[in-house]
Symmetry: C2
Subunit: 492 residues, 2 copies
């Protein structure tokens, strides 16, 4: 997934933005809808269905014979149009069939996974996503619709999981064959889209950097999130591992059932104290997606030979748009360590981010994960599935930490009725957002008013004190007069 | 080996320093000799022999019955008398039999291992050694001569390896039973004394922090040192590991035979370039005992998912006494890393120092190592063996990197003839040291003289320049005059 092996954005696919979005800078809706223009719903559902049945293989693989299809080929794609709030990701229609280079395959996308990196990217906090306009998306599942030259071990009709640097939140994606993995029997498209990023991340952290062994203990932050649930399941594949998992209280039942030994409500409790109560010596591994001051806390919770594994800076995310204060605070508090201190405590600090790793390095890991899936040892938990049109809601749910498990985007078109309901919901949400903003402003005003009151009170108190100490006041006054006199003398 | 489980210095053993050393602050010899006083060689060789045969068990375990032995019991011990050069470690005689607490054993020491931490400690750079006067020594081998209460799985006569925070460079050592490990059949006392620190360090670095796997590559600095040779042998237990080892050219044949794939002469070559020539992408693991700028180089040599393991700061050691410049430089250049940078490169930075680790944490590792020894997969390489009297020479050899493998101290008393030769050698070495110092002074003088010459030349050249550019000079002079005039005006 590094720069080297990331395919170019499908350059030959001409972007065609809905007129409404082209005209105004201020988007009208958080969940953009493609209007029912001819190019929005062309032949591709048919093509997809055909591809799914494997019958369209020859047609798709030999596009040169049918120039007419080239012209009519179009597909919907989510596009990050600029950095900012949820509304910056818009649903657009791309036209023209992407060309396939040697070793590449074209995938008819069925489901896409949502990741924290996508939220960071939307705010301009993730440098591995090319500059907007760009289609985000690091993972998806789908069916191979066409193969390029020299592709021998994938064929049209194969169901695959896909891992890529970006560009997968669209109905059609072109990727190198090495970025695709055959889906095991019985795996749903949602599960397949939920697996790559979270499970590879959890696996490499726990078993490569962490070197997790029986009887060890692990602290998993955001234990109800995608990586959290993956990590919990993977910990359970090792004998007698104690799992501390932080999540808000409402999620404790689910994560306990999933394998977390000690759920901790980080909103009402100090998780450091809670861990120490049970494991006074601390833990062997801390998985830290938060950054900032939490990294310091995690480091101090490590036993000797313990490993802190940092894999993000979720603390930087505060609000829809980039919050400079949160970013600066997280950056400022970001953990930095001297090797001499590491030696004296026998600890390791590791950093992991799948986005910066070549996909060739994760092939073995992916294969191990697919084996574990087939053995029934891991199974992605789907929190919710959204249509491409609802990407804003999906991102909001993740950012506000509403999910338990993975949030999925499906490429299945929304029904007309649902669209209407969605529009109503959007209106409602917009109103709520407005209310929230107004409330914020009011709160701010109130705060300021309170501050003013306090200042006034303080002044009054000081005035009282002055009254109580007239002697002191007189002395002060005398001094001031003396100074004035001296100044006069100098002037003369 | 942490503060908790480290036994107190054998407080009841009364120290009795040879008179010569008590009288003067300036020691007379680098390799201190115990004079042939009665207490220097008392009954203990006999006791040791008896203990070795296992017959003296009852006598040793029940000292209350034989008060006479209490009085005559004495043993030789190396004592760090203050921080400084090689001569700060003196051979003294301790009197009185150490008392055994519950769970402790008394070991008649046969051989001791020398470690870099001992060199650091002598210079006051290792905070895990109690303040002088103190007996250094983190590892030894010997025979159990007495056992305390509640000791069931060791008995008098057992041959053991011992690992301790300090206090093992003496003929008799008292340690908790958990710090002793039975010696396997066929292992010599020298091998047993050479094994604990180096092999545990190498094992935990490679297999716990490093998680070394087949086909990976490792950079081993000081590959001819104790840890270097241990690490090489342990790497060879994993399939197809490529080993880069730095050492001076004269040691390459030996380390190649030992298993180093690519020996690099760090004195004449840039090891970073040499590694990159063979492995352009770098290595998976760097074992770094050097610190300072070498840690930066090692870090930059890491592949993605690579681990840098720092386990010392040998670069701080420069000369016999603490070299403040070398310490400050190493400290200043010491590697410090931000977790965000680690994430973006998918790397780990680990710190290891056995001296800061509880011995209970290494019991499993020690047992694995003893198994590997019995399987013939590892075998400590003894570089040289010195008598306690020669500890200065032993330390010098290690510090000047003369050794290939482990340097051992034996408690076997030196023969009279050897002592005389040693005295001659000492004289010679002292003379050489003096010569070196004189040479240094002369060099310094020469340097200063050269500097002076250069200054003179520079002055002359400048003078010439001035002559060549009379116009410029005039302009300068004019300016000065103008300034003077202005000053005069202001005064008026």
């Amino acid at each position: 997934m590094s720069g080297e092996d990331a395919p170019a954005q499908q350059q030959n696919a001409e972007e065609q933005k809905p007129q409404q979005q082209q005209q105004d800078g201020e988007p009208k809706s958080e969940s953009p809808k493609t209007e029912n223009k001819p190019e929005a719903t062309p032949a591709e559902p048919v093509a997809a269905a055909a591809a799914a049945s494997g019958e369209a293989a020859a047609a798709a693989a030999a596009p040169a014979d049918k120039p007419a299809e080239e012209d009519t080929f179009s597909y919907r794609a989510l596009v990050l149009t600029g950095y900012g709030g949820y509304d910056k990701v818009k649903l657009q229609v791309k036209k023209g069939k992407p060309a396939l280079k040697s070793g590449e395959v074209m995938v008819r996308v069925k489901a896409c996974g949502l990741n924290f990196a996508d939220l960071m990217a939307r705010q301009g906090l993730y440098d591995r996503l090319p500059s907007p306009p760009v289609t985000p998306g690091m993972e998806c599942s789908g069916i191979i619709e066409a193969v390029g030259e020299d592709v021998t071990d994938r064929k049209v009709g194969d169901k695959v999981l896909v891992l890529n640097r970006s560009g997968l939140w669209q109905e059609v994606a072109v990727v190198p064959i090495s970025h695709t993995f055959p889906m095991p029997e019985g795996m749903s498209f949602e599960e397949a889209a939920a697996l790559p990023v979270n499970y590879i991340t959890a696996y490499m952290m726990l078993f490569d950097f962490g070197h997790l062994r029986p009887n060890q203990s692990v602290l998993i932050h955001m234990a109800a999130g995608g990586v959290g649930i993956a990590a919990t399941q993977l910990c359970k594949t090792v004998k007698d591992v104690t799992i501390f998992g932080t999540a808000s209280a409402s999620k404790h039942e689910v994560i306990s059932e999933g394998g977390v030994t000690h759920p901790i409500d980080y909103r009402t409790r100090d998780y450091v104290e809670e861990v120490r109560k049970i494991n006074p010596k601390g833990v062997d591994i801390v998985l830290d997606p938060l950054g900032g001051s939490d990294t310091h806390k995690g480091y101090n919770l490590l036993k000797p030979m313990g490993k802190l594994i940092s894999y993000g800076a979720a603390n930087m995310l505060s609000g829809q748009k980039k919050n400079l204060f949160a970013v600066a605070k997280t950056w400022y508090q970001q953990f930095s360590i001297h090797t001499l201190s590491l030696c004296q405590s026998n600890r390791a600090v590791c950093g992991f981010h799948l986005g910066y790793l070549d996909t060739e390095l994760v092939i073995d890991v992916m294969n191990s994960l697919l084996e574990l899936y087939q053995e029934g040892k891991i199974k992605p938990r789907i929190d919710s599935t959204y249509h491409l049109e609802q990407v804003g809601d999906a991102m909001r749910r993740m950012q506000e930490r509403g999910n338990i498990g993975k949030i999925i985007l499906t490429t299945e078109p929304m029904k007309e009725e649902a669209k209407k309901e969605e529009a109503k919901k959007d209106e409602k949400e917009k109103k709520e957002d407005k209310k929230k903003e107004e409330k914020k402003k009011e709160d701010k005003k109130k705060d300021e008013a309170k501050k003013e009151e306090k200042k006034e009170e303080k002044k009054k108190e000081e005035a009282k004190k002055d009254e109580k100490k007239p002697e002191e006041k007189k002395v002060e006054e005398k001094k001031v007069e003396e100074k004035k006199e001296e100044a006069k003398k100098e002037e003369n």
